[in-house]
Structure formats: C-alpha cells, structure tokens
C-alpha cells in the first residue's frame, strides 16, 4: 500500500509534464517543468502556452511564491491557496506537491481479488481512520496484481457518492522504477455526471539525481 503512495516520492525528482484540462467542452494544455527536493521543496516552471510561459511556483517549507512573467514580479502567497484548484485544473496545488502516506490516514482492507477486463487485479478499500484529517468517506484503489501498478483510485464522500476518480495509465520505467506516466483526474458533478477532467502526462521523469538547493530560492525565480 505504501508503495502506491510512494510511487512518485523520492529524494529528488526532475520531470517534464503536460497537463490537459477539459472543462465545459473547452480544452487547455499546459506544459511545465518540475523539480522537487526532500519532499519539502518544489519548483514548477510553465513552458507553454504563451500567456502563461515563464510562470513559476516555488514552495520552500511552508512558504509559497509565485513568479509572474508578465508583471515581472515575485509574489508571496498564503498556503491556504494550496487547497483551491490550480490553474483551473482538477488538481489542487496540494495534490501536486504534497503526497500523503495513505497508510497514515486510512485503514486498508482488500475488497476484491480477481479478474476484471482480462487483467488480474486487487481492489482495496481505504477507510479513513477516525481522527484522520481527510474529507473523504472512503477511497477505493484498484491495483494490477502483476506489477502492483495502480489502475484507478476513487474518492467517495461520506454519503457514498463518488466525487472524483483518478486513473493511471501508460506505464513506463524511469530511473529504474515502473510508474504510470499518465494520471487523469475526473471530477463528478451532481447526479454522477462527469463534469471536468484533467490529465497529467509525464513526458520525462528522473528520480534521485542530485539537485542543488540553490534553485529553490525566491530570488532565483526570475529567469
């Protein structure tokens, strides 16, 4: 179980990714570069589209800065901004930069083992521990039995309604690890209708290459 949540965690990560947001029939594509160090410092730089190119977000410890290219200014942001949808996507900044250990907050039970669509999978049901600071009623997770790769993760509220679903695909090896390089978060509206979708695709991802701490400084945000 821990393996699943630790899929993307490492001493350091460098990645190039593309995010595609589909909302109300419109699509947006954002391509960015990502550095992280020690699970606490994170730097994101947006490469495209034009309007947003050059925007950078830096998180060091508990502080967050935004670099705005058009204004050529660095602005400090309150951490509470981390919980609202980032760039209009279905991921919050929190989702992108913070990985919680699922076992800390949930009790895991196996709810299904067998074949689905010709693939041998295990399904786990995660129930939040009584004091865990999570909003979900339960989370279900399907994992491939062969390589323990996650297939999907479903988030339910306390009334049992499905609120969002995270699906994994495009499994590739990077720096010796097998990871899903495509993650899609689909949020459900009222009456279970699919509403918005965001897909993050890792074009390139490198783990554990040494990164200098210098790049994680607000002064260095300006290109």
């Amino acid at each position: 179980m821990d393996r699943v949540s630790r899929l993307f965690v490492s001493q350091s990560t460098i990645a190039t990714m593309e995010m595609q947001i589909t909302k109300k029939g419109r699509q947006r594509r954002i391509s960015m570069q990502f550095w992280s160090l020690d699970e606490s410092d994170i730097l994101l730089r947006i490469r495209s589209p034009q309007e947003d190119a050059g925007t950078a977000i830096l998180k060091v410890g508990n502080e967050i800065w935004y670099y705005l290219p058009k204004a050529n200014r660095t602005v400090k942001i309150r951490p509470s901004m981390m919980m609202s949808s980032w760039m209009g996507s279905n991921f919050t900044l929190n989702d992108l930069v913070k990985q919680s250990r699922l076992t800390n907050d949930y009790t895991v039970a196996t709810s299904f083992e067998g074949q689905r669509d010709g693939v041998a999978v295990s399904e786990y049901t995660l129930t939040p521990k009584p004091t865990a600071a999570v909003v979900w009623g339960k989370i279900t997770l399907e994992v491939r039995q062969s390589d323990r790769m996650p297939v999907w993760q479903r988030y339910y509220d306390e009334d049992g309604k499905l609120v969002r679903e995270l699906s994994f695909s495009e499994y590739k090896t990077a720096s010796g690890r097998l990871i899903p390089t495509q993650l899609t978060m689909q949020s459900m509206g009222k009456a279970g209708k699919k509403v918005e979708k965001t897909t993050v695709t890792y074009e390139k991802i490198i783990f554990d290459r040494p990164i200098s701490k210098v790049i994680f400084s607000p002064r260095n945000l300006k290109p």
């Binding site: 410890g61 502080e63 509470s80 919980m83 909003v135 979900w136 509220d157 306390e158």
Partner: protein, 428 residues
Amino acid sequence: MGILLLVKIGWRNLWRNPRGTLLTALALGLGLTLLLVSLGLLDGSQQQMVANAVRFGTGDVVIQAQGYQDRASLELLLPAGAVSKSQEYLHTEVLKHVVQGMSPRLLASGLLSSAANASGVNLMGVIPREERTVSLIPQRIVEGKYLNDNQQSGVVIGAELASKLAVKVGSKVVLMTQEVSPPRTEAPDAGGGEMQSTLLRVSGIFRTGVQAIDAHVIQLPLPEAQALLGVPGRVTQVAVLLEREEDSLRVAQGLRKQFMGVPVEILPWRESMPGVAQLFLLDEAFNYVMNGVVLAMVGLGILNTILMRVLERRYEFGLCSALGLRPVQLAVMIIGESLALTTISLVLGLVLGLSAQHYFATAGLDLRWFFKSSLPTALVFDPIIYSRLSLTRIVSSVGIVFLTATVISFYPAYKAARTALPGALKVF
C-alpha cells in the same frame, strides 16, 4: 374666600359632572400612557440594537493584546494569565450583578474543506458555556446543536458556508490552519509555523442573517483551536457582556487598573466597534426626533382637552362672578380644578402606562404583526421589541404632562377672570 375653600369648591366642581370629568381625565391620562409606552419601546429597541450588535461583535468590553485593534494580526495574543486575571476581577461580589458573562476566544483564519468544496474561514476557539453568555451565535442555531462543554471536537458553521461546502450536520470537514509563531521583526511576513490539518464534524449550523458571519465564521472548542494553532493556554481576546451597557466605561476602567503595566488594551464597545457607536448615536438622534414628535402630539391632545373643558363654562363662571367671586379667586378656582383633574389623570395615566409598559417589557411588541413583507429574509435583529423604561423617563414624562396641563390651564383662568359678566350670563 380662602384658597383652601376655593380649591375645595374646585374639587367639587369636578364631580358635578362625573362622567365628563372621568372622560377628560382618561383623555389626559391616555396622553401620559402613550408617552410612557412609546418612550419605553423606543428606548428598548435602541438598547436591543446595541445589545445585538455588541453580541455579534466583541461584547460591551473587550480585553485584547495591545495593538490588536489596529492590526488584527493573528500573532497578537493576550499574555498568559490574562484570562484568569480578568476572571478574578469580573467575578468579584461587587461586579456579580453587573457582568452578564465573559468569553475568552482564540481568533485565527484558515481553510475549511469538504469533499465538494473549500472556503477561507475565520475561526473562533471558544468555551461553549461562556460563549453562550456573550454571543448570539449559540442562539441562532437552525440545524443540529451548538457546541457543548463535554465535546472535545466539533464545529459550528454558518448556513451560507454549509451550503457552499454542501455539508450538513454530522458531515466531515477538514480545517487547515497555520501554526501561530511570534512575530519576528526582521521579516514580519516571513513563514509562520507548520500547516496543521484537523478533522472536524459539523455539530450545528447557525444563521445570523449577517452574510459576513454566515459565510465565514466557524466556532470550535477552545482547547482544540489552541492545539491546532500551537498556542496552548493562550487566547486572542476576552469579550465581556454586561447587564447594562451603561457600565461599559466603568468596567473597562476597573479592568485597566488590574492590568497596569501589562501590554493589553481594554476597550469599551464604543472604541472597539466605532461603527456601532456611530449607529447608536444616529439612532439616539432619531429617537430624539421621535420623542419630540410624540410629545408634541400628546401636548396638543392635552391642550385640546383642557381648553375645551374650561372654555365651555363661561356661563358658569359668569354666574360665579355675579355672585361676588373676585376675578383672582375665580382664576384660583379654575386652576385648582385643573390641578385636581391633572392629578387624577396622571394617576390614571401612570397606572395604565406602567401596566402597558410592563406588558411590553415582558412579552414584548412583536413586530411580525406588522410585517406584511413576503421577503424571505432572516431578520438580523430580533423582531420582538422589549420595552425598557428608566425611572428618569417616568419622572420626566409625568413632569412634562403635569406642567403642560397646568400651564395650559392658566390661559382660560386668565380669560375667565377677565370675562365681562353680562355676556356670560346669556343663555343659549
């Protein structure tokens, strides 16, 4: 003839026409009644307005860290021990009947999330039984229940917030805040402590009618808030509610003496909530105008009644003169009559007025009677006005009516004394 005899005659004159006299007395007395009732209601509604505003805010007197009024910074907490010190002082025998309640609170801001949504909130860590004596939020619960003292964890949120987050009583919400760290002078907006998240279940939902409160304010148990913010035993302010807001200044001064040398600011509500203070002044001015109008109306009523009563008796006075009564004596008799009448009326008026006032003081005047509005709004203030009448007001009202009636009766007395005899004796 001696004055006493004149007065006696005056008194008996009254009773020659008991029905007329009583009717006049009633008319006069009703004037006083109306005055008392309207004054009571106007005063009462004004005090209620202040009380309401004060109870939605920081109370009649507030104790907070120095500089908080200006900067409202989260790090400005009361020094440790401030709460117990104020408790000691406020619970003394002397102040037992002056203080209605005091509530220590920890204030901070954070983010409240549900499965469906998230929103910035202003949180208040409170002690339920103390908060009940000060704030109106515990009385405006529309779903679920307010926090109770045995609860270690729980939260009450406003109706608008509940709807935005799509939660109901019992739902899970997560509160995320930043630990408070003491302000550092070199980098005043640097860092802050660790981010803390905690799970809470909605105990109750309130509706105050004030949008800013219903959409952003949440209350949770004080110890829980203190743990979340990393400041065990500390609070931001102590809000004090008094039985009468007139004592605010006095209590504030008393508290200041207790806290000499300690960096706190102790403010009566007019200083901590200047907006409300100004509204109060405006309302006061408005009341003056209203009082003036009611007084004028009552005065006119008195004028009408007395003049009518006296001016009609020219025939009778003519007769008196013809029988040998000197003008001065006639005047005295008339005035004596008026005085007697006025006294009866005042007694009547007082009895009626005070009982009506008592009724409105206990049962209140329910404005909803008059509300034909179909607006689906929650009233910000209590629709029931309770009358509050001070002794000063009663005395001054009685005095005014008495004076007015007496002064008015001088005119006919004067006229009667100068009336030509022959004309007055003409019949029909």
